[in-house]
Symmetry: C2
Subunit: 385 residues, 2 copies
Amino acid sequence: MPPRDFLMIPGPTPVPDAVLQAIAEHPIGHRTAGFSKVLREVVDGLKWLGETDNDAFVITSSGTGAMEAAIANVVSPGDKVLSLVQGVFSCRWAKIAEAFGARVERLEVNPGQAIDPDSVKKALQEDSSRSIKAVTITHNETSTGVVNDLEKIVTAVREHGAVSIVDGVTSFGACPLPVDEWGVDVLVTGSQKALMLPPGLAVVFVSKRAWQAQAQGKSPRFYFDFAKYRKSLEADATPFTPNVSLVAGLKQSLALIREERPEKIFARHRRLRDALRAGLSAMGLKLFVEESCASPTVTAIFPPANLTVDAIRKGLRERYRILVADGQEALKGQIFRIGHMGYVFDRDILMTLASLESVLTDLGYPCPPGKAVAEAVSVLGRATP
Amino acid sequence: MPPRDFLMIPGPTPVPDAVLQAIAEHPIGHRTAGFSKVLREVVDGLKWLGETDNDAFVITSSGTGAMEAAIANVVSPGDKVLSLVQGVFSCRWAKIAEAFGARVERLEVNPGQAIDPDSVKKALQEDSSRSIKAVTITHNETSTGVVNDLEKIVTAVREHGAVSIVDGVTSFGACPLPVDEWGVDVLVTGSQKALMLPPGLAVVFVSKRAWQAQAQGKSPRFYFDFAKYRKSLEADATPFTPNVSLVAGLKQSLALIREERPEKIFARHRRLRDALRAGLSAMGLKLFVEESCASPTVTAIFPPANLTVDAIRKGLRERYRILVADGQEALKGQIFRIGHMGYVFDRDILMTLASLESVLTDLGYPCPPGKAVAEAVSVLGRATP
């Protein structure tokens, strides 16, 4: 009997038993007082976690659906949009905006690099006619494992006056993202990441400034129309039949987050990242991203010379039933990615490092025996509160 | 300890234990051979159930999301669309098409009435310039409990040459809907109805003719872009992280459908409808819809004089924990609706009738004691194979 697949990929991620049990309950009617109560608790919990008074909605779709919702509500055909591009997911913003008829200007850096807030500031300062209506930003670029200085970037956007549209799919709940303090206008996240649920539910936060843009928006929207969600939420309801099971699961996962406390969860993600990176380096592996912008939720690694990403992933999968991800698009086969977000703990990092060492050794790569785990243990010991 | 709510509403509907158990399994990675196998089985099963060689996709959204997808792929701004309107859900097609910039012509009948296929034929024959690009059709209008003669309507659309866009949300899996034989171009359905799943997953079927319209379509689309789903499905994958739990549940529910056999399931739905209607009539209640177009999945009833819909629903909910639905929009408070779709059986109809009789009696309405159940038993006995 093999163990089940262990998800060290950047989503879907491990789901706590209590959350699975909440999801396994028979669905309830979505037009009942019982569901309204659950929805209200979930919305309040999301606003608490995002430290925001902005409106918050749950949308039944994957994270990309909520990205499309953000564009469809805030961007009109012909609008100028500045897209900060550094990989697959930040590029997706540009593609969606273009699909909706926006004129997209890309501020692009090489994959693996962070967006420089000063370059954003400069690009926006050069827009003296204030023609840029919105700026799309990816807080944590999942395809490379880079986290950006979102606070500084959003500050530059606010100074300019454009609407900031932020993908927090693999950051929200894993690192600080105080929506109101930083002034994020539209924030999008998904269920299957640090919120510790299966995929299928998305969350959006909408600021007053975003509502102004929304009211003037000319893109077609119906299922994704934020105004419909706001009107329904006044009666603690959703405009369309929601995934009631995942909403019930989200209530449970928010309770777990309250119990551990966000600041401890954020510290745990940093600790796991640091321990993983130390262990990988101790194995002699080259990391794709520098420490200064290393993501707290996903780490990308070059395979050793003469070994393929396929062989490493296959070894981990077949020998240990641990899943790690390939690179995406141009980086496919060039890097592999380890997800460490949500319901992931110290022991999972040690397990992953130990298993990876075993697989690499089997593949003929000369790992220094035990050094990776020892380094990780040392980092975890220093960092544990 | 009260029993859990029993869902005699038109969705969410009762979910079999085996399906709940499949959903409760820990999610698997969506880029794995394991998930590809499940997805392939599900897509093949959906095509088998729809008796079609058309493409079939699962989309992570509610049914309305898939309706928006249908419009966004097939209808372009300025296109003329004929919408057959007879209630809330058929009207939703018109609203979505208008949101996407279509010029919508409504062929409208009063709520509770069926669309006359001859009137559709006539309207299309009058369009001698063939300016109508698409016709939106609701197979089963859930807001009133009317089922249309979809075969005849779609035949008229084919003769004209427009693309037929069909909402089969509360019909697919509950009554015959042979997609290829009838020539349905785009068919949309949802998980929480006769497919016996919780809400959160939608299904679309796309014909060759619909693909031609899709290729020329100018509406913005990204998350809902059918072409992305087709391309990914070539590798047994989805373009965006799908709700892997509900896909696993759908595999299980399709297995249950195979086991009972569709023709038996369709006969069961007809039998339940007939027994329910006979029982309600025996109670002296007035049905909203005539027998000739009575839906196999939802039945609407006028409250007796001097009783409110609220009081009847409250009685059923509080005394027996049975949920039935109110009317919607203009029909709110005018009718109540009993859903009988999917995992619903003879005994559930008897339970509902007996409970309703008890509640009405408590409210002072003079029910002939036991007559409703006796009539229903008689109909069930005659109809059981």
